[in-house]
């Protein structure tokens, strides 16, 4: 609080025996500083309104109690002693009190050795604090991408609060609770990463201890590799897209953004690789492509003989058209462009951002990018990208690029939008909104009024429906998928809840534009209606199945929804593994069956695709090549790049990677080809080319059965085997 009366003139006071004259309204703290006397403080910063809460700056003015010099204005004749025995002793007590709850060394002390509390305490001779330590930790908050919060190190000096309010006018954080239980909190005590914080870094810069530290300090810097160039934060700030980013923040994140130079033909990133960075092209052109064969694994009858064998080959759509194969769906990748099925190559240029999903959610690289000319790009880690995406200038440029170059392809990538006229697309380019959602954020809630249509641009969206006692995941949508049409066509409420699963960006088409579109383009309407109807009936069927199942356990296992289960009767099974061997024999030595799984009574439900209620395998596919058929079976599209994420995600070990030898360009010898191993994901195909699955056929003990789960469990239930 400041003094409202305007002081005039000057005032003579005495500090530590020295007389001095200072302007009226000066604080004792500042007056002492002018005299070259420094008074220790923790809560006071010159650029923030003093609050006088740490009390370290107390001085003796001859009154009953000591005065906090940072908030005490001078008055005529005031005699101040800044370093009497009494003052020094009480300061030491205050430091010891704070140190008794301080996790020493705190993050800041460990990293840079300049925790202000620990420094002052050491200088005052505070050793092992004699007071009891706080018994329960006040917690950590790791949710922000750029700032780590350690409440245990917080001394409630309010510097961050004033930094956020007064310096940056962001108004995000304050004190919460009272007394010894008080803490700092963001918004309504949200995790920092979910709050309205824009990560400007001011709080962290203000913090005297390790309570708010930069995450790069905790060791997340990009390895400096070839082509990396050092730079100063000031250099960055001269580049237009960095305009408005906090210089302090860039300075603190030095290691988390690197400028790289790539020569023509040089590899920038490779499909299937894991990474944690995104690239922003400053100048030059790059070629983005998928080098894996565009084909899927096909199993067919091979050698004839006593044991029929199957062989796996790679077959593209042209030679092996599967049911419900989307006609000309484009391949969604982690960049502002999509690739076409026939020729999966595109160009990226100045101002393009790619690798966003790898950077934000650590998905494998979706495509291979090579420099087509000399390329200069910024490679950045999540904390920097997050800040950049929150920065208006950068955001505007990325959005503009997307609207201009990719939105049309993206819209046309949805088969039924192929008929949209160019002028309408042009209209949409201007009118759609590009919206970001944080992980866990609800985009539309079941029961709410339907007001928009959404096209997924980045990330995964979970579509789920609530039923009494649970939530059923209807689908996971990824780039190029759309949602919200059922509610709009139905003219009423949202029929499902749509939640961002990770870092999600969507294109929001307003209800008005959507209405215009379906009115002007009857084909679009028909297409949408057909899909909507399909989705509605599929969802209804699934909900019905959920309702008819009596035991929660089945629900959680997802078994009831399976089309077909491989069940081993353990009373007959001798664990001879003939089934597993037969599967391997039938699939080029790669088994798609593991004799392990859930046990019910004396049955073992061996791993095989169960078309889970919550198909985790579909989350994270960097190229969106895994989807469900309408029969709910999993199908892997031709452009699978073999990164293996789906296999790792499947909790039942039911997706396997099948290596193939293919010929590809030899990067070392231009014009020559060499054999390389490429992987493709496969899942159990029920040996559809044989009369009977080979595992069942091979079992010598009549223990392996393919069963219809509903019938099977109904029987078990009737026997009372499962309680």
């Amino acid at each position: 609080m400041s003094v409202t009366t305007t002081p005039t003139g000057s005032v003579e006071i005495t500090i530590d025996g020295q007389a001095l004259r200072v302007p009226a309204g000066t604080t004792v703290f500042d007056a002492a500083r002018m005299q070259g006397i420094s008074i220790p403080t923790l809560c006071h910063l010159q650029n923030e309104t003093p609050v006088g809460v740490c009390r370290l700056c107390v001085v003796d003015t001859g009154a009953r109690v000591l005065a906090a010099s940072c908030v005490r204005p001078v008055e005529p004749g005031l005699k101040v002693v800044t370093n009497s025995e009494k003052v020094v002793a009480t300061r030491k007590t205050l430091l010891e009190l704070m140190m008794s709850d301080h996790p020493s060394p705190c993050a800041r002390q460990r990293n840079s050795g300049d925790c202000e509390l620990e420094t002052l305490a050491a200088a005052a001779g505070v050793r092992e604090p004699r007071y009891a330590r706080r018994s329960v930790s006040r917690g950590h908050d790791d949710s922000s991408l750029s700032i780590a919060v350690d409440h245990d190190s917080c001394i409630l000096c309010d510097r961050c609060i004033r930094g956020c309010d007064e310096v940056r006018n962001n108004f995000v954080l304050g004190r919460m609770g009272k007394g010894y239980a008080a803490d700092i909190a963001f918004d309504l005590n949200s995790p920092m990463g979910d709050s309205t914080c824009i990560s400007c870094g001011e709080c962290m810069v203000s913090c005297p201890t390790g309570a708010l530290t930069n995450k790069s300090v905790a060791g997340t810097a990009i390895a400096i590799g070839p082509g990396a160039e050092g730079f100063e934060a000031e250099d960055l700030l001269t580049i237009p897209v960095f305009h408005g980013v906090s210089g302090t923040f860039l300075e603190l994140n030095r290691g988390a953004i690197v400028k790289r130079r790539f020569h023509k033909g040089e590899l920038i990133c490779k499909e299937g690789d894991f990474g944690s960075t995104a690239f922003f092209i400053l100048e030059g052109k790059a070629r983005v492509s998928i080098s894996s064969p565009i084909a899927h694994v096909k199993t067919q009858g091979g050698a004839q003989g006593f044991f029929k064998r199957l062989t796996s080959t790679l077959a593209p759509r042209e030679s092996d058209k599967r049911e419900e194969e989307a006609r000309d769906r484009t391949i969604p990748i982690d960049a502002s462009v999509d690739l076409s099925y026939e020729n999966p190559v595109a160009e990226l240029g100045t101002g393009d951002l790619f690798g966003e999903m790898t950077c934000m959610t650590f998905y494998p690289r979706s495509a291979t990018v090579r420099a087509e000319s000399e390329v200069v790009a910024y490679e950045m880690l999540r904390n920097v990208l997050d800040i950049m995406l929150k920065n208006k200038t950068f955001r505007a440029q990325v959005d503009q690029n997307y609207r201009k170059r990719a939105l049309e392809n993206h819209l046309r990538g949805v088969p039924m939008f192929a008929d949209l006229s160019t002028d309408f697309i042009e209209h949409l380019k201007e009118s759609v909104e590009l919206v970001r959602f944080a992980p866990g954020q609800v985009i539309a809630r079941q029961g709410d009024a339907a007001d928009s249509f959404y096209l997924v641009r980045i990330g995964f969206v979970k579509i789920s429906e609530n039923y009494p006692g649970g939530e059923l995941v209807l689908a996971y949508l990824s780039r190029g998928d759309y949602f919200g049409e059922i509610g709009l066509l139905g003219g009423g409420a949202r029929t499902a809840t749509c939640t961002a699963l990770d870092h999600v960006e969507v294109v929001r088409v307003s209800g008005e534009d959507f209405r215009q579109m379906v009115e002007r383009f009857p084909n679009v309407r028909r297409g949408l209606e057909a899909v909507a109807e399909e989705r509605r009936s599929a969802n209804a069927l699934r909900m019905q199945m959920v309702h008819s199942v009596p035991i929660d356990q089945f629900l959680s296992q997802g078994l009831m929804e399976a089309q077909s289960l491989l069940v081993l009767d353990l009373q007959n099974c001798t664990r001879c593994d003939a089934c597993v061997n037969a599967c391997a024999d039938a699939h080029d030595g790669i088994t798609r069956l593991v004799r392990d799984g859930l046990r019910f009574d004396h049955y073992l439900v061996a791993t095989s695709c169960r078309q889970c209620r919550d198909p985790l395998c579909m989350v994270g596919c960097p190229v969106g090549s895994i989807r469900r058929r309408n029969s709910l079976e999993v199908i892997i599209e031709d452009w699978c790049i073999g990164c293996g994420l789906c296999a790792r995600n499947c909790p039942y070990g039911n997706i396997n990677l099948h290596p193939f030898e293919v010929m590809s360009d030899d990067p070392e010898h231009a014009g020559r080809q060499k054999a390389t191993i490429k992987q493709k994901a496969t899942s159990c195909d029920l040996c559809t080319h044989l009369k009977e699955p080979s595992c069942v056929y091979a079992c010598p003990h009549d223990a392996a059965h393919r069963v219809d789960p509903r019938k099977f469990f109904a029987e078990i239930l009737a026997q009372g085997a499962l309680k």
């Binding site: 609080m1 003094v3 409202t4 009366t5 609050v51 006088g52 809460v53 740490c54 009390r55 370290l56 107390v58 109690v65 000591l66 906090a68 908030v71 005490r72 204005p73 009494k86 002793a89 009480t90 007590t93 205050l94 009190l97 704070m98 008794s100 709850d101 004699r130 007071y131 009891a132 706080r134 001394i155 409630l156 108004f171 995000v172 954080l173 304050g174 004190r175 919460m176 609770g177 009272k178 007394g179 010894y180 239980a181 008080a182 909190a185 963001f186 918004d187 309504l188 005590n189 309205t196």
Partner: protein, 572 residues
């Protein structure tokens, strides 16, 4: 006002749902964190759905002396199997019903002289969804010696002063009467009013601090019940003397009945033309309204109280500047206690000479004192200032309960520390009590009989301060907790003598730092109870720490060890 908004939301939902706070934020253009920061400060607001029966057992001094620990343990046993969403039992700071201890609150309704059976019945009624009614409807108006209008028209002093408009004369009379603040600090009232009167500018405020929350303090409750007209008259006079045109009567939210009584008094004043734009046709102006405190002992600190009225966290301000210069909404503000205001019309209508002779032994005027604890007749007594403590305790309050003997007394709640029975002849006046190392304070006398453990009482008091610390400054926030930790260790006994000596030195260091560096009186006074016990009852403390013995048989019983009698427990 943010508290009105929050109360409305809580009334609708039973708590403050996030979505409502978000919409409040966008509606009022208030940052989310500010709303949360305020809502989480006041225990009155729930940020999560509360239990169907929220039981709050008063844990402070008088209730503590009257079996609150055992009562709480008993209620907990009776509802041991209840779900947390059904019954939640917690301690609460002094409910202001010290003369009818022990007191509990169930869903914000207060019940006094509570037994476990009665508490159980109330909780079961709450679980059934029955409407609860506060246990005590309050007393009928009583005649008081302080009331100059027993046979005359009320507001006589105000009418007379308006006729002459000699406000300087009023100040001179108050100065001559040597009227001092009755809230605890005893600051000369005429000086405070004169300071505000001399401040330039048209906007000034009169605030009545009726937020008495110090354990044992119940006198303002009595005054507001029986003499509301003197309070309103005193505030109007303060406004006219200082030139303030607006008054705010800041009352604690547990005083529902007094809120009603004062509301009615203020309305009748408006009807009679004693409040408003043109008081009794004089052209003078004064508006008065009641502000219900969002709760917390710290709100009784004058600058914290101002912060609360402004809709902030009740955190005391750094002083100077004092409220007389920079107060409510940064304007000059008079803040006085209820009892201070009611003395003004008494002095004006009966004269300074009467006031001088109304007290005894050189003290002036009457004092309302609350007597609680182990007294035979706990209650509020109107006594001439300057009589001895013994007269108050034995002539008025009937001596000790059940033929017990007096062991110790706190002249003004925990803040005054504890004095031994041997000092019971101390006079009830500012100077005598200060010389005895204590203070007159607000006249909150808590008495303890011979079966009281003084270390336990000191811990009880420190714990109260720890719970009520706002947390703004380091010495109070951290120091009060560390002092509780230290005393808990002492009550558990068995320390080697060297450690005890080290602890005593540490306690002195801590006491010194807290008294010298805390922003407000709360932090400064935290060491008083334990320091007074060390001074007057040192042997008792030694017995605990060194021999593991409690001479009063309180601290080392099986029940305490089993955690049933929560003597030393720390409130979550």
């Amino acid at each position: 006002m943010i508290f009105d908004d929050l109360r409305a939301i809580q009334l609708r939902h039973g708590f403050l749902p996030k979505a409502e706070l978000e919409s409040l934020s966008s509606r009022t253009q208030t940052p989310l964190y500010q709303i949360h920061s305020v809502a989480s400060f006041y225990p009155h607001f729930h940020l999560a759905a509360p239990a169907r029966a929220e039981v709050r057992v008063c844990a402070d001094m008088s209730c503590h002396l009257n079996g609150a620990c055992e009562l709480r343990a008993d209620i907990e046993r009776r509802f041991a199997n209840a779900r947390r969403s059904e019954v939640e039992i917690r301690d609460v700071s002094c409910l202001g019903r010290c003369d009818e201890a022990p007191a509990i609150a169930v869903n914000d309704h207060i019940f006094t002289d509570v037994t476990a059976d009665r508490a159980e019945a109330v909780v079961r009624a709450a679980l059934r969804g029955d409407e609860l009614h506060d246990g005590h409807p309050g007393q009928a108006r009583m005649a008081c010696a302080s009331d100059p209008y027993a046979d005359a028209e009320k507001y006589g002093a105000l009418r007379a002063e308006i006729a002459t408009k000699d406000w300087g004369g009023v100040l001179a009379l108050l100065k001559e009467a040597e009227l001092r603040g009755m809230g605890g600090a005893g600051f000369p009232t005429s000086m405070k009013w004169d300071l505000v009167r001399k401040q330039p500018g048209p906007d000034k405020y009169i605030v009545c601090n009726a937020d008495e929350r110090e354990p044992g303090t119940i006198k303002d409750r009595f005054i507001m019940t029986h003499l509301p007209h003197l309070l309103v008259e005193g505030m109007i006079l303060a406004g006219l003397v200082t030139g303030a045109k607006e008054g705010i009567l800041y009352i604690r939210h547990e005083y529902h009945l007094q809120e009603e009584i004062l509301g009615e008094e203020i309305r009748s004043c408006y009807r009679a033309g004693l409040l408003g734009k043109n008081i009794l046709g004089s052209g003078l102006e004064f508006e008065l309204r009641v502000f219900v405190s969002p709760g917390g002992y710290i709100c009784g600190e004058e600058s914290a109280l101002i912060e609360a009225i402004e809709g902030h966290r009740a955190e005391p301000r750094n002083k100077p500047p004092f409220p007389g210069v920079v107060g409510l909404w940064q304007k000059p503000t008079v803040i006085n206690n209820v009892e201070t205001f009611i003395n003004v019309p008494q002095i004006l209508s009966r004269g300074v000479e009467w006031y001088k002779t109304a007290g005894r032994n050189g003290s002036r005027g009457f004092k309302f004192v609350g007597v609680s604890g182990h007294a035979a007749r706990p209650g509020i007594y109107e006594v001439p200032l300057g009589i001895t403590m013994r007269e108050v305790l034995f002539d008025h309050a009937g001596g000790m309960r059940g033929g017990h003997t007096l062991k110790a007394f706190a002249p003004s709640g925990p803040s005054s520390g504890y004095l031994p029975a041997s000092m019971a002849d101390v006079r009830l006046d500012f100077k005598a009590l200060a010389e005895a190392g204590s203070m007159l304070g607000s006249g909150t006398i808590v008495v303890c009989d011979e079966a009281t453990c003084m270390l336990d009482m000191a811990l009880n008091a420190v714990r109260f301060y720890r719970n009520e610390s706002c947390g703004k400054c380091v010495p109070c926030r951290v120091g009060s907790q560390k002092m509780v930790d230290l005393l808990v260790r002492w009550t558990q006994g068995g320390l080697p003598e060297t450690q005890y000596r080290a602890d005593l030195a540490l306690l002195d260091e801590l006491s010194q730092a807290m008294s010298l560096t805390s922003i407000c009186g709360l932090g400064q006074i935290v060491p008083a109870p334990i320091q007074s016990v060390l001074k007057h009852f040192r042997a008792e403390v030694d017995a605990h720490v060194l021999q593991g013995k409690c001479p009063s048989g309180i601290c080392f019983t099986a029940a305490v060890r089993a955690g049933e009698a929560n003597r030393v427990g720390i409130r979550p």
